[in-house]
Symmetry: C2
């Protein structure tokens, strides 16, 4: 099995506009994300392992190995995938730095998975044994291929962070992938999985191993979809994107995790096969989804019922589902389009999601999670039981684990590999997409070495210093993303005083034969600003939100606290500028007296009501719920707003 | 079995402020509801019967009788109840007028049900046989007692419209009720059904038969609820109102049909047992539910996921679930409170629901139905297959039948008995709650006969003429509800010219020894008006709706019709008065140019946009979707509206 040496990055396209860098080439050295990476390693990974054991999802593999299934099996039909996502997260974490105990746990876990694999490569604890459903008998909802997709991603992560390791994970994946190709290949079972994910896994496994069958199998899965490959569904075939062929769709729809995972896999296929038509279709779908079906936080998914997208403009704050995993899926989709095309708007979406969904979905302690990320909570709900897996969404407090617990390990693998989203290279030089204290050491395609250090306390400030640590020995271009929210950004050559503005299309570029020690400074304006929605987003008509840099703010009201502001009755004054204060951002607000009526619909025009005048201090949305049960809202009714 | 002769009315409390009149005492003779009653009899009842046969839900009883269950059973676990609701609807219809063919079909259907009843009285096609779940083994979701509740209501309807009939339905019900009392009585299984309904059925059966055990059993079911009688549920015990004891709750919550049916049964129990505390609790719950959790149409239920209530003020238009059955349940609850207390606000809610949900949920032809009644539809969806049961909500067109088809027979029984909601009596005289062309003949408690004729084309106009047709021979009081929307109502003694205004609290009263032929005239103002929501209903901030009398209007846009108005971009001008025109009500509107942006959240204030100026003609909400696939909205963004 030939293994090409590649950077330790989650996505390694054969072609494309930009080349990803591995997490061995980009090291985040401090700040917002380093803190979260430390917590992820020290708290989240052990927490996930403990719950995988406690809930028996890891034990299912042991039972499978010794013939204890199906009676003893615990968890939902897709619980194997959480073990694989955990293995992927650990692989990236070990790529961030050696850890003998974690390495040992990783190997022991892989051994338990290996013991459950059947001789022909089949691996799933929920199907195929006497008393269980037959293999591939419930492709619509059984998640067998979905689970294998996560297995493949885990094996790829390990293969790229520890090439040649003798733990056996890559072999497990290859045997399973070979079986999938045998069963579902040309002339085989012309079917797809109800939950896309195997596609991204197969393409990446193909990229890692060089085996062309895997990419071709992914291509088959993409092409089969949308022709009624799956049975009709209570909520229509759009639920699992089997309503319209991928290349004919114009927007993401149905289950939001499925839609994003499928799109990510389809970009992979388009890039590997040179399918420009498919790539163009996916870019169009991404654009309309961002323009009409995405929340201010970058989150996606408006419906509780099907965890799915709503129609265009259907973006309720109070029933925003915004599943954590859907946002991670949007990051996967966006990153692949960024690599394929270089468009900085894709990095904008990644930034939005990282600061406002991923950072929100995990507690500061790393052991509590949001499955859904609503933008408006009127009732604090009740605190989750710390000893029990929670339903998906019922409290303003994060929960330790869920009955469907896809989100915690998804967060863990994302945080462990987040350095891979910071920068890329091309023949001209280096592109920085995300701003964090970091060191970047790589070589350009012609072999020229470059090294820079990023110094910043972003997103607290918008100043990013770029210090050259290794000279390329030839001129090269530094390209910095200018976020869509940042108008008036400048890049300054500190020594020379030369100042550059945006080059258009969301970047600032500067070319030079930079010497070691040379310093450049990016200045991004970081004022707190009011944000207004498109008037067609009915649910938030007449409201504003506050954003500072990439960070969305919210009003939070502690439950049962005397004097806590009434978030149901507040009206923000937009004629006063939002002002940063120690606790957050202060806005001026009125609390008009409420009229308590027997019937809430009246024919009289809203008369001036006596109002209490005061301030409301907003906090970063990603910090909401940290202080206890509360109400919360991102969008605030505004005085004197048009529509 | 002693049967007391009672009026042919669905609800016959032992005590209470007002006495119901039977459908033999109030005859609707024309107009809005007579038309719908005719269609109900000629089209809806045959349609329901055909689908009950086609789907095998009636056939299940035949299979049960000849041992063909469980293999051959079709339909959901509660499908028996649709047969019972059909029998109830037919009973009321036969009470409206003899029909030999319908009578024969009724008897034949009862015979098929009777054949499936087991010797001890048990009756359910989904439980109790080898290969089925044991009796009462899934009280949370099995709906056994729920089905029996509908059986009891059917038997009561028959008992009151055809007392002494030898069809056997009452006997079936009594045997089943006796079994229920034996199993679930004091010292028996201390359990409740996950779907309330048996409570209303038991009380009414007790009222009809005089057997006190039935009311007592209903009381037990009410008292047991809210103490964790049921297992925890994915959406919490509030889903089936087992979170808080009925007398301690402060608002309706959870599944909206369950909540209303339970509340109706609890009023019945409170009235029969003289439990003033329980009655007061239910009145409070009704009031807060109306003030904070009810749509402009009177509809209830904000969530698709659990068909349930949202929190206070959570009333999204676009995902309004507003299940038809929940609104019928609200009518049941409201009517019982009206009888108990005389409060005219309860009749207001009944009127709202009748004109804006019940009338909406059935097509003009009587053979197509809405299960949900949204207030905003952005996408027309696709036409339901006329040959297949539809999912509950996916199109702007009504469907012939549903996989869960509770609504069609619920509409049928409501329409067939709607005359029972028109008027009541007390010692003082007659109260008219709903306005329709009708004749009312009854006797006051002291035996004095009264007869009046109502002449009106309400709700087209607000003029109601009341002509005395039978003199009581003593002074009595005529009390007319003045709807909450009608300010400036007057009652005029046509001969004497005497004019009376509202007496406060929602009625106009006039006392007299009215002679035969004497005429009074009620004038209700019927201008089309803009309605504004409480500012805490976030989903419709900055919007207005149009109402004329009890009828809510909506904007409708035909799909694919060139030049059809864009309902996503419209802004209504509230400085122009809504104007009745032939096609509906005309409002002035602007269509500002839309800005198509890559990201729909901006920091600039909404600048004046060039607008197309025009008119929008609104139609009665109950007529929407009649003309084909369309978009629709009740709440319209308004220019210059405060919040």
């Amino acid at each position: 099995m030939p293994i090409t040496r590649v950077p330790a990055a989650p996505v390694q396209p054969r072609t494309g506009r930009l080349h990803p860098l591995g997490i061995d080439e980009v090291r985040i050295t401090g700040g917002f994300w380093a803190e979260r990476q430390r917590t992820n390693a020290s708290a989240t990974l052990p927490h996930i392992f403990a719950w995988l054991e406690r809930e028996g999802w890891l034990g299912n593999f042991d039972l499978a190995a010794r013939g204890g299934l199906p009676q003893g099996r615990r968890g939902r039909e897709f619980s194997d995938s959480e073990v694989y996502k955990y293995l992927e997260a650990v692989s990236w974490q070990l790529g961030n730095g050696q850890d003998a105990a974690l390495e040992a746990r990783f190997r022991a876990t892989v051994a338990r998975v290996a013991a459950a694999q059947e001789p022909d490569g089949y691996l799933n604890t929920n199907f195929g044994r006497p008393g269980q459903g037959a293999r591939w008998s419930d492709l619509a909802m059984g998640h067998e291929l979905y689970c294998l997709g996560h297995l493949f991603q885990a094996a790829v992560a390990r293969g790229r962070t520890a090439p040649g390791a003798d733990d056996g994970l890559l072999g497990i994946a290859v045997r399973a992938a070979d079986l999938v190709c045998g069963v579902f290949g040309e002339g085989g079972l012309a079917a797809v999985c109800g939950h896309p994910e195997v596609e991204v896994g197969l393409v990446e496994l193909g990229r890692l191993t060089g085996d062309p069958r895997y990419v071709d199998q992914a291509r088959l899965f993409i092409e089969r979809r949308g022709h009624g490959a799956l049975p009709d569904h209570e909520w229509g075939r759009a639920y699992y994107q089997d309503d319209v062929p991928v290349r004919e769709a114009d927007v993401l729809r149905g289950h939001a995790v499925r839609a994003n995972y499928l799109s990510a896999g389809a970009v992979d296929v388009a890039v590997e096969t040179g399918d420009e038509d498919l790539l163009a279709a996916l870019r169009r779908q991404w654009s309309r989804t961002l323009a009409r079906r995405t929340y201010l936080t970058g989150g996606q998914g408006s419906h509780y019922q099907d965890e799915g997208f709503g129609e265009d403009w259907e973006l309720p704050s109070d029933r925003a589902y915004v599943e954590t995993c859907a946002s991670i899926g949007s990051t996967m989709f966006s990153w692949r389009l960024l690599l394929a095309t270089g468009g900085p708007g894709y990095a904008d979406q990644i930034e939005r999601v990282l600061y406002n969904v991923v950072a929100t979905a995990v507690s500061p302690g790393g052991d509590r999670f949001f499955y859904t990320n609503t933008l408006h909570r009127r009732d604090p709900g009740v605190a989750p039981d710390p000893e029990t897996a929670s339903p998906r969404a019922f409290s303003s407090l994060r929960a330790p684990w869920f009955e469907v617990s896809c989100c915690p390990p998804n967060i863990a693998r994302t945080l462990a590999s987040v350095a891979g989203l910071v920068a890329t290279t091309d023949a001209d030089g280096l592109q920085v997409h995300q701003f964090a204290p970091a060191t970047i050491r790589t070589t350009l395609p012609d072999g020229a070495p470059i090294g820079v250090r990023l110094e910043t306390d972003y997103p607290s400030s918008g100043v990013v210093r770029i210090v050259v640590e290794e000279a390329a020995g030839r001129p090269w271009t530094l390209t910095l993303r200018v976020p869509g929210w940042a108008s008036g950004a400048t890049l300054t050559r500190v020594d020379g005083g030369e100042r550059t503005g945006p080059s258009g299309e969301g970047t600032i570029r500067i070319c030079g034969d930079f010497a070691v020690g040379e310093e450049l400074r990016l200045d991004l304006p970081m004022a707190a600003v009011f944000v207004r929605p498109d008037p067609r987003i009915d649910a938030i008509r007449g409201c504003v939100a506050v954003r500072r840099g990439p960070v969305v703010y919210c009003a939070q009201s502690a439950a049962g606290v005397a004097g806590a502001p009434d978030l149901a009755g507040v009206v923000v004054r937009t004629d006063r500028t939002p002002e940063p204060v120690d606790a957050g951002i202060r806005v001026a607000a009125d609390w008009p007296a409420q009229v308590e009526a027997a019937w809430p619909y009246v024919t009289t025009e809203d008369a001036a009501r006596p109002a209490t005048v005061g301030d409301l201090v907003l906090i970063p949305y990603h910090d909401w719920g940290n202080a206890g049960l509360c109400t919360m809202r991102v969008w605030l009714p505004a005085a004197r707003e048009g529509r």
